[in-house]
Symmetry: C2
Subunit: 336 residues, 2 copies
């Protein structure tokens, strides 16, 4: 696509130089020298497939470092696979590049992918590069595998189940606000750690597959804790109550919320957390403690699943420390 532009080498050179090396070690990728890839799950397994695209200026800042953009594009997909109990194996990449793209940018982009391939044990097996007059756009399709018929679903939450979440909530959205200058009181170190969470999701790949025998419903938190819990409630036909004080916050997020308590609403609704939100029977709490320890990932109980006859948008209740429901307003969470 870039043959006439001068900025970049032709498409085939570009693939050979930057992307073919990322396919090494995966026979079905055929060195990116054919028209399609072969991918087949191991015996007794299903293939889990997911695609998510990110757009410059929408999902990341146009001047974010190229290696972090690459890793984010990959990781948001790995997060979905992990949330479904899958072990990631491979991915394909559609890279839609502005004409101003330089070889230095591409080189950094590819090195970001290479680093994450080593970290997560995945390979690039195919893709497409194109030019655009618009912003950098990256679509990734990720493939993982789960034991046959066992993919974790959104639809199994039952009244009485407890609600759990991995890691901490709100860091990414607060990081974005810090990046945009909306957290002026925040100390530099705290701001940096939040910005890091925004730029570089940490998909819970160790935890997700361990939930196969215990979780009744799962989702990765990308739309926001409340919205993603609503998704579970909708498909499972249940309601949910979470206790605001139990939602796990990082020290940096806690500092940001102390500086400006109205940010609490953003933390619960902002999204881009890439944690796993799941439900499990109350008697599974001990096993979940073990999973937390063996995967090295904090897991916190934040609430309980309830029976419902309510409209979808009112199925998630956020409770204050005194047990009364809070309401989301433009001032943040307030009492009804």
């Amino acid at each position: 696509m870039f043959d006439q532009n001068g900025q970049l080498p032709g498409e085939f050179e570009l693939i050979a130089k930057y992307f073919a090396p990322l396919s090494e070690g995966y026979p079905g990728a055929f060195g990116l020298l054919d028209d399609a890839a072969i991918i087949s799950p191991s015996a007794g397994h299903d293939l889990v497939a997911k695609t998510d695209a990110i757009v410059g200026g929408v999902h990341f800042h146009a001047d974010d470092p190229a290696d972090l953009v690459a890793r984010k594009a990959l990781r948001v997909n790995l997060s979905d696979l992990a949330g479904k109990g899958g072990i990631a194996r491979a991915y394909m990449l559609d890279l839609i590049l502005p004409e101003t793209t330089t070889t230095a940018w591409l080189s950094a982009f590819a090195s970001g992918l290479a680093a994450d391939q080593r970290k997560y044990g995945v390979h690039l097996i195919g893709g497409d590069t194109n030019a655009t007059p618009g912003p950098l756009t990256i679509a990734v399709m990720a493939f993982g595998e789960v034991p046959k018929g066992r993919m974790l679903r959104r639809n199994g939450a039952r009244a009485g189940d407890l609600i759990f979440v991995t890691g901490t909530i709100g860091d990414a959205v607060l990081g974005l606000k810090a990046l945009d200058g909306e957290c002026p009181a925040l100390k530099a170190e705290a701001a940096a750690s939040l910005i890091e969470r925004y730029r570089l999701p940490q998909p819970r790949v160790e935890t997700g597959p361990l939930l196969l025998d215990v979780a009744t419903a799962t989702i990765d938190v990308s739309d926001g804790l409340i919205a993603d819990l609503e998704h579970i409630c909708e498909v499972s036909d249940v309601s949910a109550a979470i206790e605001s004080k139990k939602v796990p916050l990082s020290p940096a997020a806690r500092q940001a919320l102390t500086d400006d308590p109205t940010l609490a609403a953003s933390a619960l609704t902002g999204g881009d957390d890439y944690e796993i939100l799941f439900t499990a029977p109350a008697n599974a709490a001990n096993r979940i403690d073990q999973i937390s320890q063996s995967s090295g990932t904090p897991i916190t109980t934040i609430g309980r699943v309830e029976k419902t006859s309510r409209a979808i948008e009112t199925r998630v209740t956020v409770l204050s420390p005194d047990g009364t429901p809070l309401k989301l307003s433009n001032k943040g969470w307030t009492h009804f």
Copy 2:
């Protein structure tokens, strides 16, 4: 992504209204109500995966009808699967929409997909919708299956093999030229048939899977007949000679080339043909006749594979009717 724009319903309504119906009948799509899809090849088969993206203003005109844009986005991927001998089963879709997108456009887009799903027996199993300040961008990942270990490759062409191509070559690029007013002498009916070929590829899904037992190397013609034959030559480490007069042209293309003989070069190099170019042993000619008849698709012998020690860019020779090699210049094909 569109919740705040007013133009379109929210992302979830949009998926529920326009896209979830396209997943009906494919259990592993979970009605597009989960985070990932399950896809597994039939027993004894490999999964073939391919992704191709198209960008408004680059691969299609921004005002092309929405249903045709949808079908083109899908079909360019189905063409690759067919070229590899695969039978298409499912696809995922990343839809990156300008903020001016209307519900009427989306409705037409979805109806184009629905029509092609019926035609090709595929289902939508997942995807992502996003907003962009740039042009409409569509990434499709298509999945098919082939008997295990049997995917047709680019790398098996051998000296002495004949070179074949399905259908006709050059229509799409001439259609684009007609659309851009570059074929003023062309009759309206001929122009319309060429434009149709540009807007709506006809992937050779009936022919591809029948080539599994006979073709030594295959590729679908998207970059252009010469470039794609070079790809086969590169990976197979052979050269190729094609006879210019044997390259199959439609009556409309023939008329365009009679009006303006310099367009012959465009026909051979323009691309977007979505025919299958393949090599096969000379003694397979009868079987290929049978495949042509049983798939209802013309297949033409256009040349021969040769031994090589040449540089890749000189591996494809185009021969004039008197057997002398032609050279591509800015006046079209000329004698050396």
